[in-house]
Amino acid sequence: MFSLESKVASVLKKHPYNISFRIRDNIVFLEGEVESHSEWVEIGLSVGRIKGVEGVVNKIRWKGSGREVEKEEWRRRVFEEKRSTVVGEYDVVIIGGGVVGAALARELSKYELKVALIEKSTDIAAGTTKANNGMIHAGVEPPRGTLKRRLNVKGNAMYGRLAEELGFRFNRVGSLWLITPRTLAAYRKYLPGPLYSLVLKHVLPLVVKIKGLINGVRGIRVLKGSRIFELEPFATRDAVAAVFIPSTGVVDPYEVAVALAENAEANGVEIHLATEAVGFIKENDAVKGVVTNKGVFLCRYVVNSAGLYADEVAALAGAEEYTIHPRKGVLLVFHRDTGVFTRHCLAEIILPQDPYTKGGGINPTVHGNVLWGPTAVEVPDKEDTSVSREEIELVLNKYSPIIPGFPSDRLIRFFAGVRAATFTEDFVIRPAKWVRNLLHVAGIQSPGLAASPAIAEYALEKLREMGLRLRPKAGFNPRRRPMVAAASMSLEELDEKTRMNPAWGRIVCTCEFVSEAEVLEAVRRGAKTLDAVKRRTRAGMGECQGSFCTLEIALILSRETGLPLNQLLKEEGRLFNGHVRGEHV
């Protein structure tokens, strides 16, 4: 048996740098200096892959890496200012209002507990949760033995009921993975003559099916020939076989997170937006309070579900067990009229997987649009959601063979999200090793959205093991009143609604057919910014991308919130930044 030390040492020896390390409770801390960010990633990953390593804290510096001195100072300053202003006392404080934090908040709201969810942004779901494919993966992909596999398969199964209780859109569209002559082109030389098509048609589909079965995914079928095109008429005729996975679904990810948060709130959870954890008040090895820009949240337990910032939050609490290496994904959005081209989540299997587009494909959304992507690129900056022309081209070129007739000029928008990956490349859901009452729910990369209901249950179980007492709440109401949309009403319904409330008949976003009544309802439910309204109503998500309705929505927001136009926010930044005519410049 080799010790962990010697394994780490031998892995590090393969890199041409002088990297020092120390290990504490199976957490490896790396230090040293390398040339580039990509080497920083690579070394971290090679250590993270070692069996027995439970976390990599990668303090290696690369040329151009810098400490965020300003942010650290800001945190220190806020900490000093606010450390003695108490907001309240809670059993559990959840840091981070993405889909994971929201799902856990709702889970905890089933019990007699005082819970606060704090989110630094102006809205729920403003982090990675707002920028992904919205796919509820079946669970075929994650490797065996990982937590993400277990929670993915379980989470997927929970979605039907959740959607029904919380009234969010969920379509189990199924996915179709195409096998074409391109699939194994890289291995062609090892598969001469008819062997190639034999492997493509018969062996590979079976391998995929078996992998799925082992993971616990049910209903997988292998399709050949015309059966493929019966299911997906526009798919490339190159497809010789396909693997059909019926349990894959799609959701609107922010709708899910908002629904969870609204239901949690209705059941007593306090939600504090624009509230950022900047430090912790500790006594010995336990957290006593979370210090934020709003004051101190005294608490018995803390959950760290801060997404991309989970490593920093953990470090602030003295629980530094992992470093997040951000991985960006670019997605393209196509107009709703392209929805006829895809019924399922479509992908073409290409082996070996291209590391920059791994796992991507074409998928419908619950609103009938089509998404292409994502890419997978390691980026130094956690908030690098930029998209370049080259990245758009990459996605277009990569996926156009899947549906050759797709009108790709109907591209209406693009965006990027950043995955919060750790170097062990699995979810980290466990009690902190050196802080008694802190639970990590970190490294929630894809399929984090699909897994989130199961993550919440699993995290609850961990909290229980850590000593949290759970007494079911008698009045828990699992249901939430869904947002109603004019776009999904019949004309008769809309007419009736309009006669009771004329705002239903005032259409503010014509591209997506959104009425003023929906905007008002979104504001009533807590949306304060343009983007928060947009996520709840879809105003501005259509063909013109808000060039008509932005001002209309801003006027409504201004009227309802009492804020003047030039103080409204888009998300975090001022929507309009200039002076008002007649006012002193």
Binding site: T498, Q545, G578, V580, R581, G582
Partner: protein, 413 residues
Amino acid sequence: MKDVAVVGGGPSGLAAAVRLAEKGFDVAVIEVMGELGGMLEQCIHDGFGTKVFGETLSGPEFAERFVKKAYSLGIQVFLNTYVKQVKAGGRVKEIVAVSPSGVQRLETRAIVYAIGCRERNGFEIRLGGTRPAGVYTAGMVQRLVNLYGVLPGRRILIMGGGDVGMIVARHLQLEGAESILIVFPEAGFAGLPRNVQQCVLDFGIPFKPRTVVKRVIGKERVEGVVLTRVDEKWNPIEGTEEFYACDTVILALGLVPYTGELKLGVRIDPATRGPEVNEFFETSVEGVFAVGNLVQVFDYVDDAVETACIAARGVEKYLNGGLKTSPVRLAPSGKVRMIVPQRVEWVDEENVVAFLRPAVEKSNARIELRSSGGKVLERFFRRYVRPSTLERIEVSRSVFSGQREVETDIADG
């Protein structure tokens, strides 16, 4: 039942409605906004109406003339009313519209669509970088400043050297913006020389030709852009990237017909991006007409209004059972990028008014109409043509007789 329903209460919709009401037809106008006037309500600069009224008016003044007329003629106006569905297959057409007083159903014998255009946005040109607050289309900025007196930001970058970009630049200069820079990929401004002088040069507003925004920078709010120079084909020239600090990016990238809002299966011309029409601006669906910027984006409101007046005659013919013959295609070729109308088919005496956009820049040019055999049927001399200026020609009816297709081209004079 109405004789005509006009969808869209901008200048061209109003012009059509007024003409038709004057002819004695029972007309309704349906407008989604709370007032009539369309885009003109936001254009408080003058320069409108030189052709129609023979004087230069501001946008709202121009609109006001039509609005007054419309009400005095007793035209029924539906405001805040959005057309959701149209059934136009038969002689009797049905419009389903949504308004604060409920869902309305309107039966009509003819429909004139005049829903204008929308602005091109950053996604359509694949503007790279982040997507923070502080990126706007020019029209939104005009509305914001003119109607609500709020400036979008302080340090402004304008993308686009057309008329709209220049007009917005002057506005913001007058309103006290701290800095303004205009960039565009062409070698010179694409807009009218008058605007170059009066909006840019007279105010000393800086501009950079052959320059585009490569990337927007900023997380919450725009912090600046990376500019890059481009060659004649608009390809970025490497090594010319520079950072420009600003908090606002205004996109004046041109307009496209708002066909996304056409609720019926009319044929779209990929060149104009608007519906295909005949010489009376009737679409491929009988009795459904399309006028103004919906058909193709006009440089002058006067031209948009002329299409409405022509369509009004067409509606009249349609309602009175006028006759058609087999259509003659009017096609662009070579040096002509697009032409409206795309076909000529009514039995009529009067000349056919056509609008075409040159694909080339040329002095002493001849616009030629040719038979498919190559015979020149009619020609028009122009001292100077260029892509940014739409050409209006009046073609004699006789040109089309006996033809199946007539091609337009531009030759040396």
